[in-house]
């Protein structure tokens, strides 16, 4: 089984490498959205410092959603998904491997670039590790929950907009805890609770989401 999972991850990473522009587009989107906020609310440094965690988190939410529709669409179109459902490996495990690959390609780059963007907002230096850790814990949850929505909307007309309607409300707890962790640290409060809850979300989503994703995929394949 491990061979199959390694193979799926390797394949998805290989495909992403051969289509580098797709990955870059989502990342660029993240950078642009974050950069638009100072233009919208004005360059007042105190205000920017205050809204930075929220802005970066909301932009990360949107950017990770942008790449979701690609998660299963290509495999659905060329029949690979059928082979995955009929595979000798449990579908839940294959799906988990695909989500891991997706996160490595679209979530991890966001985590890595976020501190740079935070500097644009003059976020205090000690807060940068907090922001990175919160994103590191939170973005995999976004990928897991988003994959459920992506699986449900496979092959449905207008699936892109529908996907955001389904998935964004479910992202709320992650957004609150993720941005909250940074904000709490900014005012000198203890933020261990936020980060622990984010970790709990991650564990819960990792346990529950693969089941829901594979159920949704089986339904969408009919």
């Amino acid at each position: 089984m491990l061979t199959a999972l390694r193979c799926v991850i390797r394949r998805d990473l290989l495909l992403a490498m051969r289509r580098r522009s797709d990955v870059a587009t989502a990342l660029l989107f993240f950078v642009i959205v974050v950069s638009l906020f100072p233009l919208g609310v004005g360059p007042e440094p105190n205000l920017l410092r205050e809204i930075a965690p929220g802005v970066i988190w909301v932009a990360a939410l949107l950017a990770s959603m942008l790449s979701l529709s690609r998660l299963f669409a290509a495999d659905f179109a060329d029949g690979t998904l059928e082979q995955m459902i009929l595979s000798a490996t449990p579908l839940g495990a294959i799906v988990a491997a695909k989500v891991v690959a997706h996160w490595l390609v679209s979530g991890l780059p966001l985590v890595l670039i976020a501190p740079v963007l935070a500097l644009q907002f003059d976020l205090a230096q000690p807060l940068l590790p907090v922001l990175t850790v919160s994103l590191l814990l939170g973005t995999p949850v976004l990928s897991l929950i988003g994959a459920i929505g992506a699986a449900l909307t496979l092959g449905v007309r207008g699936s892109g907009v529908l996907l955001s309607l389904l998935v964004l409300p479910l992202y709320v707890p992650v957004l609150i805890m993720g941005a909250g962790a940074v904000e709490a640290a900014a005012v000198g409060l203890d933020n261990a609770g936020h980060l622990l809850l984010l970790a709990a979300f991650l564990v819960g989503a990792a346990a529950f989401a693969p089941w829901a994703i594979s159920a949704a995929l089986r339904i969408s394949m009919e």
């Binding site: 699936s159 707890p173 609150i176 979300f201 829901a212 339904i219």
Partner: protein, 249 residues
């Protein structure tokens, strides 16, 4: 699909799980629930507007809770019921359960909207603004999005069977998330605002106020049952068009 049977007290309850036998049953039940809703609503409004005393802090504007609170209760409860039927449909593969779930969604969304609207009407005289990021209002707003998502997904998928099953998975995912969303929002709210006046924590609830509210809550129940039975009949008509038993009606 072979029909499973569940026999309790000499009645095979799965008999009513087929749209064919449920359709006339629902038709017979609707008037009872509709009249009960109307009567309870009249009684509740009377108690609420004429019997219950004026609140010494908020004046007359508090009276909106007679609509707001039952609507808010109903909005959350109906999501649970909807998810329950969706889950039953997914496990036992009964068409009627899926039809029930889709019939409940608009009523649930309606109550959610009503709760938001009345909440905002109450907020204007009390807090001085139409909208406050109060924990309850915010979670109601997200609940409304969840209802919309469920209905939009069902509407977007052409094949009714796939729509039913996909909607069911979404409803179940939503129901797992509702408590998490609710507590996160509440936590977020206390962190940002400190304790705010809550809509349901109306100061010193008089007995008549409670009576009025319970009457209105019961009226909302009856209305929901009547409305969703009516809607499920329409869904049956739409889905089963061309079936022999419908032609015979």
């Amino acid at each position: 699909m072979s029909q499973p049977s569940l026999v309790v007290g000499n009645v095979n309850w799965f008999k009513y799980a087929s749209p064919q036998s449920f359709y006339p049953l629902a038709g017979a039940m609707i008037p009872w629930f509709a009249w009960a809703a109307a009567a309870l609503c009249a009684a509740g409004l009377y108690v609420g507007f004429f019997v219950a005393p004026t609140d010494h802090q908020q004046g007359e504007s508090y009276r909106i809770i007679f609509i707001h609170v039952p609507a808010a209760w109903m909005s959350m409860f109906l999501y649970l019921v909807m998810a329950f039927w969706a889950g039953v449909g997914l496990v036992f593969n009964t068409r009627l359960s899926h039809m029930m779930a889709s019939a409940l969604a608009p009523t649930g969304a309606l109550f959610t909207f009503l709760a938001l609207w009345t909440g905002s009407l109450w907020g204007k005289p009390t807090w001085g603004t139409w909208w406050v990021w109060d924990a309850r209002l915010t979670s109601e707003l997200i609940l409304l999005f969840l209802y919309f998502g469920f209905m939009a997904l069902k509407a977007a998928i052409d094949d009714p069977r796939r729509a039913d099953r996909a909607g069911a998975v979404l409803a179940l995912v939503g129901v797992v998330n509702i408590p998490i969303i609710y507590y996160s929002v509440e936590w977020w709210n206390t962190l940002h605002q400190g304790a705010s006046v809550s809509l349901t924590r109306a100061p010193t609830m008089a007995a008549t106020m409670l009576t009025g509210m319970l009457l209105m809550a019961l009226a909302a129940w009856m209305y929901s049952i009547a409305a969703s039975l009516h809607r499920v009949r329409s869904v049956i008509l739409e889905r089963e068009r061309g079936a022999d038993w419908l032609r015979a009606l």
